[in-house]
């Protein structure tokens, strides 16, 4: 029977190393199956998060051969199996144990974003063309792979000043909601630090839901920040229009 070597990170807190496990291959096997096989037969205490195993919940995020991936959507036969398959926990977040990391920072950032606030007296009618754009953002399954790969968080450690791609997507879904009345643009500039993003697009590359994070969420939001903070003509225009409607 064909086999593969899984080189899985084992450790807790600040210590750890990669350990090799050999697993039998099954047709259509994904990396998560291989990890489960290790768990069931060789390392019962191997910590790994997963839920649906169908790419819908975003729990089994890890770095497979150095690339942030969902393990349930990474097929073994797409990997070079003549060498060990390296599986490591997300690098951007503190390690709990083995493949599980502490992602609670994300939940704290989320709390800073004001929720949906319908404009006063709205009529609850929306058309498909108005929701198309936002529905793309709402596909997000919160796997946090974009947060993991983003170099602003991963290498520069800007967790206090920067919200990360996931929360630009979330803010975009609220800002572009056709019936929402809140203004989150100052928040984007100050609290979420959108200026730290240098649009190098790794978030878009890793997104398992194929959300165009950079082109459809971050850049349009950057342009909204320009409207409010950097474009004198836009400011003037708003004043004139404001005077007209007032």
């Amino acid at each position: 029977m064909a086999e593969a070597t899984m080189r899985i990170f084992r450790g807790e807190g600040e210590t750890g190393k990669h350990v090799d496990y050999v697993v039998p291959l099954v047709p259509g096997m994904v990396v998560l199956d291989a990890v489960h096989s290790v768990q069931a037969h060789q390392a019962p205490d191997l910590a790994v998060r997963w839920n649906c195993k169908a790419g819908k919940c975003g729990s089994c995020s890890a770095e497979v051969n150095g690339r942030p991936r969902l393990m349930c959507k990474t097929r073994m036969d797409d990997l070079p199996l003549d060498q060990p398959v390296t599986i490591s926990p997300l690098k951007t977040f503190p390690l709990i144990k083995d493949l599980a990391t502490d992602v609670s920072w994300n939940y704290r950032v989320n709390k800073k974003i004001p929720p949906f606030q319908p404009r006063p007296g709205v009529e609850w009618k929306m058309y498909q063309r108005d929701v198309d754009r936002v529905q793309e953002f709402r596909k997000c399954i919160e796997c946090f792979l974009c947060q993991d790969v983003c170099h602003v968080l991963r290498d520069h450690g800007k967790k206090d000043d920067f919200g990360g791609p996931r929360f630009f997507v979330r803010t975009a879904s609220l800002e572009m909601h056709p019936l929402d009345g809140a203004d989150r643009v100052p928040l984007l500039k100050k609290t979420l630090g959108i200026g730290f993003c240098n649009i190098t697009k790794c978030c878009t590359e890793v997104c398992p839901e194929e959300i165009h994070i950079t082109d459809n969420a971050i850049i349009p939001l950057k342009e909204r920040v320009v409207d409010e903070f950097y474009d004198p003509l836009a400011k003037l225009w708003r004043k004139i229009r404001g005077a007209k409607t007032a």
């Binding site: 600040e14 690339r67 390296t86 058309y127 602003v152 056709p178 200026g195 190098t200 850049i219």
Partner: protein, 264 residues
């Protein structure tokens, strides 16, 4: 404490301090940036040479073709323009500024020239203070839309030039140069109007597309721009290469090193 009943962790204490390598990627990630770095560097060197070399400043025109580097033509005889400054310098800042603040080029040169990051999930060596686009000079990227306005001005001029390229000294016709200029301006148009800032201005800044009649019209426009924008990288590449080759072709004609072929 109840926790004292806990079995001790197995052999974790004996594990080494965790040290992750710069990257665990197995693929040839360092190759990703080379195409951009090479082509863009060639273009930059070529454009600089064309703009600053005094002799080059005479090779911009071969009737009825005007090089895009020199259009609109400003004081080529140097009546008031100092000898050291080529008319191309008065032109090139516009398109250059447009491209340097372009969202696609930003990605490409931050990665290719600044290695920030060199590739996804590859750590940056040497932790310098990182400010992204929050402080000088990169905070200037926010003026991209103004460079878009400038680029549109130049685009109008280049369309004029392309139409002008049908009118030969001996009447209306079509040369290889005409075709080249026409293709070039089409590619530049595709690049310019796929701009992210333009996409925002047409409709991206709206929250509701169906709320007013004007918003509905802007939505249509936005959809069109979005289609171009999805391939912004493609347009950025082909238009950069085409503008360089168009200039080169006209330069070679002007220097007498090549003869234009009349097709009609």
């Amino acid at each position: 404490m109840a926790q004292t009943a806990t079995p001790t962790p197995n052999s974790i204490a004996s594990m080494p301090e965790m040290r992750r390598p710069r990257t665990e990627r197995h693929d040839a990630w360092w190759l990703e940036n080379w195409p951009f770095v090479i082509v863009f560097s060639i273009f930059a060197v070529y454009a600089t040479w064309r703009a600053v070399w005094p002799h080059e400043a005479t090779l911009y025109w071969s009737d009825p073709y005007l090089s895009p580097f020199y259009s609109p033509l400003i004081d080529p005889q140097h009546h008031w323009l100092p000898r050291l400054i080529s008319p191309a310098i008065l032109i090139l800042w516009g398109p250059l500024g447009f491209r340097m603040t372009c969202y696609y080029y930003r990605k490409a040169y931050y990665r290719g020239y600044f290695a920030d990051p060199a590739a996804c999930a590859v750590s940056e060596k040497g932790h310098k203070r990182y400010c992204g686009e929050t402080s000088f000079p990169f905070i200037l990227q926010n003026v991209h839309r103004y460079f878009f306005y400038v680029a549109v001005f130049f685009l109008v001029v280049l369309w004029y030039d392309a139409i002008r390229a049908f009118f030969f000294p001996n009447g209306v016709g079509l040369g290889v140069g005409t075709v080249i200029m026409l293709v070039n301006v089409v590619l530049l148009t595709g690049y310019t109007f796929g701009c992210h800032a333009w996409r925002h201005l047409t409709g991206g800044g709206l929250d509701c597309f169906s709320c007013t009649a004007s918003a509905q019209a802007r939505h249509k426009l936005w959809q069109g721009v979005t289609r171009l924008n999805e391939h912004h990288m493609f347009w950025a590449w082909v238009s950069m290469i085409s503008v360089g080759l168009t200039d080169l072709y006209i330069r070679l004609l002007a220097a007498g090193m090549l003869k234009d072929i009349r097709l009609l």
